[in-house]
Amino acid sequence: MLSRVAISLAAVCFLASAQDTYDTIYNDIGSLPCVRLLNATGYVGCQSMTAASGVLYRADTLEDINQFANDGGLRNKYTVVIPYWLLSSSNVDILKTSKKLAAILAVVNGTDPAHAISARPTNVISPDTTCPNCEFGLYANTPNQYQWNPTGSGLLFEQFDFPIYALNTMDTRNTMSYASVMQAANRNRDKGYRDYPLKSLQFHSFMWGAQDTGACLRKGWCTPVGGASVWSTPSTNISYTDEKPIVVITAAMDSRSLFHDLTLGVESSVAGMVTVLAVAEALSRSTIPLDTMSKHIVYTLFTGEAWGFSGSQRFVQDITSSPIQCEKPPTSGSGCAYPFYSDLEFQRLNPAKIEAILEVGQIAGMGGAGGNPTLYAHVDNIQEAASTTLLKQVVQIGANGSTTVPDPTAGIPVQAASSDDVKRGLPPSSSMSFLKSRGNIPTVVLTDFQKQMSALTNHDQDDSWNTPNTFNLIQQAASVISKTAWLQAQGVSDTAAMTPAQTEAIASIQVNAELIQDLLECLSLNYSCSLVDRYLNVTASNIPPTRLPHYSGTLYSQSQPFPIFAWSFLANMTSVKNVTSPTPRVTGCSSKPATVQCNPKEYCVGDQCIVSLTRYHDAYGVGIAMNSNAEYYIKDASKPVWTESTWDPIGLRMFDVTSPGSQIAELMTGLALTLVSSGVIWYSRRFLKKTLKED
């Protein structure tokens, strides 16, 4: 390739195309950027006005960072490659004040010993605040509210005026990028960062959104952060006026972290989502049909929870404002054009009838606090009395799970979080959104922590977990919640007073351990697994997806793989009414061309025609509303209004640079050559004139 460019001087250069030359000079690297997000009062995240470029510099330790800052011999701009755990405000300040920083590459995972999992410090620091989303929570106006995340550094809320990108060996493409960057950085290091040419990286990271959400929404330079929540119920005939109480089983579906492409949230959300899906599967085995029980069971999985409980708050706001006055019906399909709702079936849920909320919070057991994994049941401390009975039931079922049936997970105890006589109230959770509208709903939030959230909350490095612990915790949580929900739905408060049919039925509710393993695997690292494939035929695509980000994305602009899967799974599970006499299902609806056409009220899920009440619900900050022109505006700045800035195409490329000194030398040579030849021409013209005069 090089020779092709060189040979151009032999008069054939026009034959080498421009793309060839570009590829010779530049190596485009897969990019995992930190982007700018905006809220009511300002912005957070990363941006650079111009395309920043800097010579690759490798710093593995804090000493390396200090050495970089104090090395007077470094006279260029540098891209510093650091392990992710060195990305802290104080270290960034050291780099910034050196005036030599162009950009930062943070290695989340790498094959180099300095970046390996074993090199990670044991003392993990959460990048979130000391109380994530608490300003939008139930106790926002309570003085001295309990700080659930005391190690929180607030890194996610800092403003960086230079690009920060991640490197992670999570797939082939990113591993290649990592390898080429590290090879180049090591070569620069071997040259002492002085022996040019050195390898340099250029970043494009221009963010359009500026100031705050209000300003950028007016200019159209940002989009609300959000996506689709999913709710589902086995009671297909549920209505607002049927007076039947409702039991809500809920969890969050999304998470956040500095690098959205890496957001995984096994601790923050995936484990909870897996639990709710496993509960739905377990309850579908009930020998007593779920839709005949004295209470309705409603599953909710919320998106946007990492962004000020956007999903749950919007859901609660919408169900409490029904019936909706639809001013402009949609031109096609369901919902309403103005005020905008993509679906209106939620009006069938009566919020006044919600009689119990069972929520699964962080339960992956990644806290690293040591000791035996335990599940803690949290209740609200303001209207504590409302939840006492429910809490007692949860703890009791957790304790005697082994007495009714042999249970391998009985080893994991369930405790009331206030068992140490400290009443901290609820940790940040979706339930808060319900309790904000009506405080006396019995509510239990199940987590793996008593006093302190996992430091891996909203962390980019929550990608390695203690597998048996995580499975056992999820299994126990699913078991406790499914049985509690079943008893609640049956209206049984005392297990001793159950009828023989009920005793038999509750024994049928068994959590499928294999399903939990599959779900955890599918939803965290391999979306193209057979379980997801059964529903969504993902492996038919050209590049089957593997690890997908759990960042919710921006509203209506991205595909929502996890909500789509949750919808399909819940639709399938809630359509099962009675395992003892299953109605045969019609199959063949998803083949192309379809051999079977489902009835108008049926859905084709996993190649079967089913009837289900499973719906998506828009999830974005309740402070944002859409006007009749379909433009977003801030309705209430005191509520969550998170938006993501729009960007110019983002990317980074690697190339050789020459030293600033040699570039100046090139310019001087060019100028000297031009001046000298001008002089020679001027002189020889005079000479020629003189000589030719003799003609």
Partner: protein, 238 residues
């Protein structure tokens, strides 16, 4: 810092030839026209060369082969250009400031040579020059501390001057039926072209330096021939 590289390379590659153009060609309208038409001739030669390159898909990346027909075509078109100028000479002389001067033909040859050279310089180097605006550089394969942009700029600069000399020598050669001069032009053209392969040589250390020195030696030799011819012409006059 990329602007520095860009201007450095632009001045290096085109500074001397632009000085020549502004200092000696631009004041004379007919020389400008001659220069442009000669540039057009060079373009046609290279158009044919690229057609052959396109058809000869097997040898596309074998540069010594490509050079063979590219240089040959250029020399062929140099002869066509000579024939054209030869035919137009009486007309050209009529409007010249010294219609009887015997140096007119040398002036035409020089302008035509600059046209050949400048078009070559633009076509062969402009892609690299544009790329030098970007932050990245390509390092010269044989001189790993210098960017290829700069080496190419120097080479371009020398080769443009080469073309001026070659055109003058070959015109004298064609006029006087001095095949030795024509042979010199063809041989040194091949020599200069093959020397540039040294730039990308992975085995020859400092190949770019040998290339530049070799080309300078060839240029000086050609210049001596030109001066000798001019002197001869001058002496014949007086």
């Amino acid at each position: 810092m990329t602007l520095t590289t860009f201007f450095g390379c632009a001045f290096t590659a085109y500074g001397p030839s632009l000085a020549i153009f502004l200092g000696s060609i631009a004041p004379n309208a007919q020389l400008v026209i001659l220069m442009v038409s000669s540039a057009f001739f060079w373009l046609i030669s290279v158009l044919l060369a690229s057609a052959i390159w396109y058809i000869a898909s097997n040898s596309r990346d074998t540069f010594p082969v490509t050079i063979i027909y590219t240089v040959l075509l250029q020399e062929l078109f140099r002869y066509f250009l000579y024939l054209l100028i030869n035919r137009a000479e009486s007309g050209l002389n009529m409007v010249a400031s010294h219609p009887k001067s015997r140096f007119n033909r040398s002036g035409y040859a020089f302008a035509a040579g600059l046209g050949f050279g400048l078009m070559f310089g633009i076509i062969s180097y402009i892609t690299q020059l544009v790329n030098s605006l970007g932050p990245g550089v390509i390092m010269c394969e044989s001189c790993k501390t210098v960017s290829l942009y700069f080496i190419s700029a120097i080479t371009t600069s020398i080769l443009i001057l080469h073309h001026c000399a070659w055109m003058m020598i070959s015109f004298t050669g064609f006029t006087n039926r001095s095949w030795l001069r024509v042979a010199w032009v063809v041989i040194t053209h091949y020599g200069a072209s093959y020397l540039t392969i040294l730039n990308s040589s992975p085995t020859v250390n400092y190949g770019c330096a040998y290339q530049i020195m070799g080309n300078l030696v060839l240029l000086i030799a050609s210049a001596i021939i030109v001066f000798a011819d001019m002197r001869h012409l001058h002496q014949k006059l007086s």
